[in-house]
């Protein structure tokens, strides 16, 4: 059992670190929540399963400066750690990475949508199915039905970097060439349709900055130009222009850095597919520079470097 193995590792690691970051049950049976473990007796509360959706690696930059942190990462989350190391944003000496091979998590939103947003009394998982109990009774949902988009094209079920691995490695079983199929599909729409799509989606934005603050790579959030008056990039207005501008800032600042954890989409309270914006740029990075963020520790993000002769960039004619 992964959870037993995981608890064993945490017990072993805990004496040497200030905190172990894992998951525990949140306010209801459907919600897990990040769990900061400092005492051995707390380890029992640790949980692991398809409800453990958060990218816990995102806590590392602010903590590893002066504390020693152990963090539980899924395969997708592990790209965050690699990217931090590429950009020198964490202190590896102060970081213990507990990897968990993961066969997929759920989208809390999709589950709730399937259940008409009722409070969830119990959740039980069984292979590729979860059964959710509400005051109205039980409902079984297939995992594939309620999995977040990122799991559907997952290439890294096993963490790419770890100090301890809780469980046996899992091989990817999704075709690598279809990762960006949704982007290609979207690009079949006309320019006008795309503009209208984003205008509609982004019109719901309330500028709460959950997508920014949950983003592991948005590392300058306290100094974000979306709020700064000096420089004065944006107004505090809530109109379409400013909403689009904010999301363009977010996307462009992540060019070649987005590790595709899709936390931005997961946390958006008004259900904007925020990660879909970045995915296009990620596809470009793969096609233009053969680069995927957070895959190798020794890689250099493509916007941080150049080639004198770029193989894939051609002069544009007018």
């Amino acid at each position: 059992m992964t959870i037993e193995r995981l608890k064993e590792i945490v017990h072993k690691v805990l004496p040497d670190v200030d905190v172990v970051i894992g998951y525990r049950q949140g306010f209801d049976a459907l919600h897990a929540t990040p769990f900061f473990i400092t005492k051995p007796e707390e380890v029992d509360e640790l949980i692991w399963g398809p409800l453990c959706v958060h990218n816990l690696a995102a806590y590392l930059p602010s903590l590893t400066k002066n504390k020693k942190i152990a963090v539980i990462v899924k395969g997708c989350d592990s790209r965050t750690v690699n990217q931090y190391l590429q950009e020198n944003l964490i202190n590896r000496e102060n970081t213990v990475i507990i990897g968990i091979p993961c066969s997929g998590v759920i989208s809390v939103k999709k589950v709730l949508k399937g259940l008409g947003d009722q409070p969830i009394e119990a959740v039980s998982g069984d292979g590729d199915k979860i059964t959710v109990t509400t005051s109205q009774g039980d409902k079984a949902l297939s995992l594939s039905e309620v999995s977040p988009d990122k799991c559907r094209t997952c290439q890294y079920p096993t963490p790419l970097i770890y100090d301890h691995l809780a469980g046996d490695p899992i091989s990817p079983d999704k075709p690598a060439e279809s990762v960006y199929d949704d982007v290609r599909e979207f690009e079949k729409l006309s320019l006008g349709e795309r503009w209208h799509y984003w205008e509609t989606e982004l019109s719901r934005c309330i500028r709460c900055y959950a997508c920014r603050n949950a983003c592991p790579m948005c590392i300058c959030q306290d100094k974000c130009i979306a709020e700064s008056r000096d420089p004065h990039w944006m107004t505090q207005r809530l109109n379409g222009t400013e909403k689009l501008m904010y999301h363009m800032i977010h996307a462009l600042h992540l060019a070649g850095r987005c590790v595709e954890c899709e936390e931005c989409t997961r946390v958006c309270p008004v259900e904007i597919p925020v990660a879909k914006i970045k995915k296009k740029i990620n596809m470009e990075m793969a096609e233009l520079f053969g680069y995927k963020a957070g895959v190798g520790v020794e890689d250099t993000p493509p916007m941080f470097t150049f080639k004198v002769d770029e193989e894939k960039i051609e002069e544009h004619e007018l």
Binding site: G26, D28, G116, D117, A214, R237, E271, I272
Partner: protein, 353 residues
Amino acid sequence: MAKLGYLPKEKLTALLEALSKEQRLFVPCQAGDAVLFQQYDATKTPCLDRPATTPPKGIIFPQDDTLFTFTYHKDAEDLKKVSVELKENLDVAPTIIFGARPCDAKGFLIYDRPYTETDTPDPYYKKRRDMTAIMTLACPAPSPGCFCTSVGGDPADKDGSDVLITQLESGYLFESITEKGETILQNSLFEEGSSYQEQAQRTHEAVAELVRKPFQVTEELTQKVLSLFENDSFWEEEANKCISCGACTYLCPTCYCFNITDEQAGSSGERIRTWDACMFYHFTLEASGHNPRALKHQRLKNRVGHKFSYYPQKYDGAIACCGCGRCVRYCPVSVDISEIVAHAQEYTNDHGE
């Protein structure tokens, strides 16, 4: 005497049509996978099954609002001489909010104390508030994370509403609570409703049973939260997973803090008021670089403290939380304010503070 009206389900659209002709009508509508209060017209899809993702507070207290405009004029005689002209912006139209939940309506009561019941009432808020009627839908079921009964609310609470609507099997019972509400119920679409009152009452009681009750407001709560003010380790522990975004405050029906900024283009511009969030680092950042709430646990402490200690201290024990549960439900990392309050109570009980 309250007026009771019954409306069969199939006549709901007709009612919304009728109401939207007389004034601006805001109804929770499906928008993508979210439910947002939108101005009603025939193209909208009303959604009453679940509480709106965002509260209706923006209808009375817009997320961005122009306080006044300013224009710089150059003197034709002396080009160096510039004068400025100000124009107040206070256009407000009569409005109905349809399908708010009781917690949403209560949010405005919490706004009212600092915004209208003071020696410097806020004219923008007050004018919109006066011109808005709130038709509240009693909750047909609780939502994930909500806890209204812990803070003195109820899924069928009438406080703050002009009309209370109860969803019944084949229709809705409308009950007027104020004069504004009575006027609305004069519409000829309504049938006599008194025979449905008992059925509505039973529904209310059944739903109230289902609401979780993570804590109980006591007289000492205010003092208990306050007594933890200097207990950094308590707040650090509560805040360690918080990511300091503004989702909780922007989705909160009672969070009323704001920012004022000037936005200018060319020779004219506007002074605007926008929602702001005490969870943001820059919120209290001073020009000198000093920040009295530089750390996220200090900010979370302020948010919880404001609702459960500072506000009640100022306003006769009233709690500035309506228990709608949005901050819990939509928090990216499931920070649960009700759990924090419960912890604060436990902690002070255990440590005798």
